[in-house]
């Protein structure tokens, strides 16, 4: 835990956040934090959805009904709903490194214990507790938003989130493969799947160790060290929570995120079984097709983040919002089509189109989130992330539980719901940047500084607690889009030249 040298490997802004994103570097602290966060998040996704491709085996071993399977799918994503908000606060208060590693190590036992499930009830419990690990999403986004500056924060968030989500696809390939190998060695089907679960569990544990050993919270060090040296003020939980919770934009994004990310979680849960049952494929083939949905995250979610940053250069925050609305609505359209298509090849093509749009929308959402609040970044990230899980819970409850709707009808109806729940984006408005239909306010006090400093009380400002927000507001002027008046920006920032 040594404090890093003042010179960073990447160009940085006044908060020491990197202004460039170099994918193939592992330089501490920025890129190293990136690689640690996406790998640990990937591991959690692998664990949470490890069950899905093996359901055809598990449902016979544990004597599950469609309702049991549906319920387990619902609880697997419901644990993280409130945990994500809590995680947001934990990041604000303790730092993403400790918060995420603690969560990962505390949920690893649930994955290890998947091997000893014997009934629908124990299956439900195991999936519930394993699902808590999806909360690491919040710490991932928080960590990226702490390490990377406004011009590249969308990209960093998008790649980290996307490559983590990749786990939901990779697991559909990995688990049938591991299961097959163990079964071919000589284990019976009903034992082979149990042994297979040790792989994701061990991976998860090891990734948490890596985060603890090699990671650090902020460019300048860990929270613990920074608090002691006085550089990071100890914030009050109640105010952090208050400013996050009372920001209506956080709530709208929570809803819309439920219908891009939430939908992605639902599909991760049902798609292998859907292809297995509807098209009479074998387990491995259904797994490969299901995997391609999640694996698209390699490019799609990062693509969304990059697109958000590109659009913001010219059109600012308004561009980010419009792009998000268009992409997510198109995702809904492809979802409707996917439920209607009856041929195998048609289904696969539409599914891939659907995955591209829905996952890009996730990336685009987290191009907007870092700007909603500075003081309560963690809480807002947590609310949005939690909203994603709520969307998954609600959607599975309504359409994918029991035998009321066939899976294909459920998928079509889900598409319609996506389109409806994306409309609230029209309501988001930033006084300094505008909204989808309105331009920025003409009032003199409609500035970035006013927006971010309004989160601090005057007595806190006297003590200088608000300085980080002040730096952030200066750096976020790029969200106005178009040509920016370089006179307003301090000369030591390098990123303005590109805007």
């Amino acid at each position: 835990m040594e404090s890093p040298p003042p010179k960073f490997a990447l160009p940085v802004d006044s908060e020491h956040k990197a202004t460039e994103f170099r994918l193939f570097s592992v330089a501490a602290p920025h890129m190293r934090a990136f690689h640690l966060s996406w790998v640990s998040f990937f591991a959690c996704f692998v664990s949470s959805f490890a069950v899905a491709p093996l359901v055809p085996i598990i449902r016979d071993n544990l004597n599950l009904t469609s309702t049991d399977i549906g319920n387990a799918g619902i609880v697997s994503v419901s644990g993280a709903v409130f945990a994500r908000v809590a995680m947001g606060s934990a990041c604000d208060l303790f730092g993403p490194r400790l918060a995420s590693a603690s969560l990962i190590l505390l949920t690893a036992p649930a994955v290890f214990c998947s091997s000893i499930a014997t009934s629908p009830t124990s299956f439900l419990l195991v999936r519930f507790f394993t699902g808590f690990s999806l909360t690491t999403f919040v710490s991932t986004q928080f960590w990226m938003s702490s390490m990377f500056s406004a011009p590249v924060v969308g990209t960093a968030n998008g790649v980290a989130g996307g490559w983590g989500n990749l786990g939901g696809g990779a697991t559909q390939l990995i688990m049938p493969l591991v299961f097959g190998v163990i079964r071919d060695i000589g284990a019976v089907k009903f034992t082979a799947w149990r042994i297979a679960f040790f792989i994701p569990a061990l991976f998860q544990t090891l990734s948490a160790f890596a985060v603890l050993i090699f990671g650090q919270d902020m460019p300048d060090g860990n929270y613990h060290g920074l608090k002691k040296s006085g550089e990071k003020a100890k914030d009050k939980f109640s105010w952090v929570f208050y400013y996050g919770f009372t920001n209506y934009r956080g709530w709208i994004l929570a809803l819309t995120y439920g219908y891009c990310f939430g939908v992605e979680l639902v599909v991760d849960n049902i798609i292998a079984e859907y292809f297995y049952d509807r098209f009479n494929l074998n387990l491995s083939t259904a797994g490969i097709i299901a995997a391609s949905f999640g694996l698209a995250n390699l490019f799609t979610r990062p693509g969304g983040g990059i697109l958000s940053d590109i659009v913001a250069k010219r059109f600012g925050m308004r561009g980010r919002l419009w792009t998000l609305w268009v992409v997510q609505t198109l995702g809904g359209v492809f979802c409707i089509i996917m439920g209607q298509v009856g041929s195998l090849s048609g289904s696969i093509i539409v599914m891939i189109a659907f995955s591209v749009f829905v996952q890009a929308a996730c990336g685009l959402t987290f191009g907007v989130v870092p700007f909603v609040s500075r003081r309560s970044l963690g809480v807002v990230s947590g609310m949005t992330g939690g909203g994603g899980n709520v969307g998954a819970v609600v959607t599975q409850l309504i359409f994918f539980r029991g035998s009321k709707y066939s899976k294909q009808t459920g998928i079509t109806l889900m598409g319609i719901m996506i389109i409806c729940c994306t409309l609230p984006l029209f309501l988001i408005y930033f006084p300094q940047w505008g909204g989808m239909f309105c331009g920025p306010s003409k009032k003199a006090n409609a500035t970035e500084e006013e927006y971010y400093l309004s989160e601090w009380k005057s007595n806190e400002k006297e003590k200088g607690f608000h300085l980080a927000s002040l730096k952030f507001s200066e750096n976020s002027v790029s969200e106005r889009g178009g040509k920016v008046d370089s006179v307003t920006r301090p000369s030591d920032e390098t990123s303005s030249a590109h805007v």
Binding site: M1, D60, N61, S102, A108, P109, F112, V188
Partner: protein, 208 residues
């Protein structure tokens, strides 16, 4: 008698035609010409991987001769009773045999022996991958094109009588249980260990 025989033969002939025309075999089109018995009685519980099941099958002797002329192979299958199909779409009974999921486990497959009122039999252990459920036994007769042409089953047409249960293996082993417990404990303990180490390091750097 001869008229009945002709009627049955022509029915069989037309259903075969239907099969070759559309390639789809409907279960409702198959005649029940085989008599099948199983050693498991109503309500009996067999343990997968341990208990044996004995099945016998043969042509219904009250039928006219020549009915079984097309039969080449007989497959005996373990089939789900309706109670085990509730809320489980992957075990659904569908008339189109290509899509039917009622009978998923093959007990034995034998060439048909139609000679002289023969009754064939087989005894074997219930396979270890058979799940816990309620079952009956059904035999399908296939012709030389490997298309179903007839069947017989141990239960009645409504699948309510002579149903037996199979108790599956759990798949668990003591070694797995121990490994799960150990690794789980290890995760939690190592987290505590990390915290302790960090606190110590913080104290040391404070003293410096």
């Amino acid at each position: 008698m001869a008229a009945r025989g002709i009627l049955l033969a022509s029915l069989l002939f037309f259903s075969c035609l239907a099969v070759t025309c559309y390639g789809i075999v409907l279960f409702s089109s198959l005649p029940s010409t085989l008599v099948v018995t199983a050693s498991a009685k109503q309500g009996q519980v067999l343990k997968a991987g341990e208990d044996k099941i004995a099945v016998t099958w043969g042509l219904n002797q009250s039928l006219p001769a020549g009915v079984d002329s097309a039969y080449k192979t007989i497959n005996l299958k373990l089939c789900y009773a309706p109670i085990s199909q509730v809320d489980r779409a992957w075990r659904k009974t569908v008339d189109n045999l290509a899509k039917d999921k009622t009978c998923q486990f093959l007990i034995v497959s034998r060439p048909y022996d139609g000679s002289n009122k023969a009754v064939q039999s087989y005894e074997g252990t219930v396979e270890r991958d058979v799940p816990t459920a309620t079952y009956f036994v059904r035999a399908y007769a296939y012709n030389s094109d490997n298309v179903e042409v007839a069947y017989g089953q141990t239960t009645d047409s409504h699948k309510t009588t002579d149903l037996f249960q199979v108790q599956a293996i759990s798949g668990r082993h003591v070694s797995l249980d121990i490994a799960s417990a150990c690794f789980s404990a290890f995760s939690v303990v190592s987290l505590i260990g990390f915290f302790v180490v960090e606190k110590r390091r913080a104290k040391q750097s404070q003293r410096k």
